[in-house]
């Protein structure tokens, strides 16, 4: 009943995947190492930096704070999936335009977190955007440009939907 390894089946970016995993392997090591999805990054492996953020059954979570074996039966989305679906194409475009990324290591986690804010489709102040993103560390940009890019995307979406 208890295992050191187990075969799991899960959906990753819309595709069903079946793999044998070690119980101790966390989700991002699995995504990167077993599936070659290197868009999710490891910055601290103790749940502070947010570089490993992925979507679990629709909600953003820390990928380093979850075992791959726990994802059996779950649906995972990574930045590669969000890119392919076009869900954050406008946000990505605004990131590039506004130079809201430099080294880019935090960017996938930042996008996935921001996508959750955008999904709420409610007006936000810059302070609220900053607060929402406060669990994602960026050493390069100083955050100002990231807040700009998220704010612009939110404004554009709200204008479009109204």
């Amino acid at each position: 009943m208890s295992d050191e390894t187990k075969t799991i089946t899960l959906t990753v970016n819309g595709e069903s995947v079946t793999k044998l995993v070690d119980a101790r392997t966390h989700l991002v090591d699995f995504l990167r190492g077993e599936l070659g999805l290197t868009g999710s990054h490891l910055g601290c492996e103790h749940g502070i930096c947010g570089a490993c953020s992925v979507r679990l059954d629709g909600d953003v979570v820390r990928g380093c704070l979850m075992l791959a074996i726990q994802a059996d039966g779950a649906s995972i989305e990574t930045v590669e999936g969000l890119t392919a679906s076009g869900e954050v194409a406008d946000l990505q475009e605004n990131f590039v335009e506004r130079d809201a990324l430099q080294c880019g290591f935090c960017t996938p986690g930042m996008l996935i977190t921001a996508a959750e804010l955008l999904r709420e489709a409610a007006p936000k102040t810059r302070e609220e955007i900053r607060e929402f993103l406060s669990g994602n560390y960026c050493r390069c940009t100083g955050y100002h440009a990231i807040v700009d890019a998220v704010e612009t995307t939110l404004t554009q979406r709200l204008e479009k939907s109204s």
Partner: protein, 289 residues
């Protein structure tokens, strides 16, 4: 920084989880949201033989009102508590505390019961449920029992829960008319653990606090109920004088620990400042009510 070798079992029922706990006791860790456990595994600070994953125990998740109390299942995610209209209506203290609990990704996964079971002395929720007089239900193969919050927190990451017991739910009395709440904390950065904080549930009569629960966190090894500070103001009309009296009396209630966050003197000072501010806010809310 990779977790040590371990075995894993996914519990598909509470009974199964309890059986595993009975069998493995101290050698097993319950894996709920994992937001505190997983870092210690990755750092190899904890090395359980067995992880018992309870994330599929849907029975343990959910929020409902029963008999003038809100029942929060142990596995309820922080995000669900934060979004809950029931919590907003009946437990405004907890609703006010929730945005201070970590960050969105952690709240999506971390659980209410996990925070209570871990009993981090700097965490918000243990202080809140102590201020609100909650009851914690735990269960083992030996049976189910209720523990008052006042008896639950025993020390640094130490609780009344025994190694074979699983936290099932927390029942928190609904806020009654005539009572007000206030919550404040100081943390260096949004979502960090607090360096000082207080949860306040007060009964008021006009400008007078008749009784109150002031619970301080991020100071001692567990959330601390301040009796002397309350005694200093109970029954008195709120004034600069009673404010100062409460702040002064706090040193009889609180003996903060020195740690990386700051010295004991610093923390006591901050808690005093918060005492004045939190009571100001409580009175203001009482006036508005």
């Amino acid at each position: 920084m990779k977790a040590p070798k371990m075995t894993y079992a996914r519990a598909d029922s509470v009974a199964q989880a309890l059986a595993l706990l009975a069998e493995h006791g101290d050698g097993a860790n319950v894996l709920a949201g994992g937001q505190s456990l997983m870092p210690t595994l990755n750092m190899r600070l904890s090395k359980p033989d067995l992880l018992i994953d309870i994330n599929r125990l849907e029975d343990l998740a959910g929020i409902s009102v029963e008999d003038d109390a809100v029942r929060i299942g142990a596995l309820t995610r922080h995000a669900a508590v934060q979004r809950s209209p029931i919590v907003a209506e009946h437990l405004p203290l907890i609703a006010e505390a929730m945005p201070h609990v970590a960050h969105v990704a952690v709240r999506n996964r971390g659980t209410f019961g996990g925070s209570i079971a871990l009993a981090d002395p700097a965490a918000e929720l243990p202080a809140c449920i102590l201020a609100l007089g909650a009851t914690i239900t735990v269960e083992s193969v030996r049976g189910r029992r209720d523990i008052a919050a006042a008896d639950f927190f025993k020390g640094l990451f130490e609780t009344e829960r025994q190694p074979d017991e699983l936290l099932i739910e927390i029942r928190i009395p609904c806020q009654r008319p005539g009572t007000v709440h206030a919550f404040m904390e100081l943390s260096r950065r949004q979502g960090d653990f607090a360096i000082a904080g207080v949860a306040c549930a007060a009964e008021t009569d006009g400008e007078t606090v008749t009784d109150a629960k002031l619970v301080y966190f991020a100071s001692e090894d567990r959330p601390t109920l301040a009796a002397n500070a309350v005694a200093a103001i109970a029954g008195k009309v709120w004034s600069d004088e009673s404010r100062s009296a409460a702040m002064a009396a706090l040193s009889e209630d609180l003996d903060p620990m020195d740690n990386l966050q700051g010295s004991a003197a610093f923390k006591l000072h901050l808690q005093r400042v918060l005492t004045g501010r939190v009571l100001d806010q409580a009175i203001e809310r009482a006036r508005a009510a």
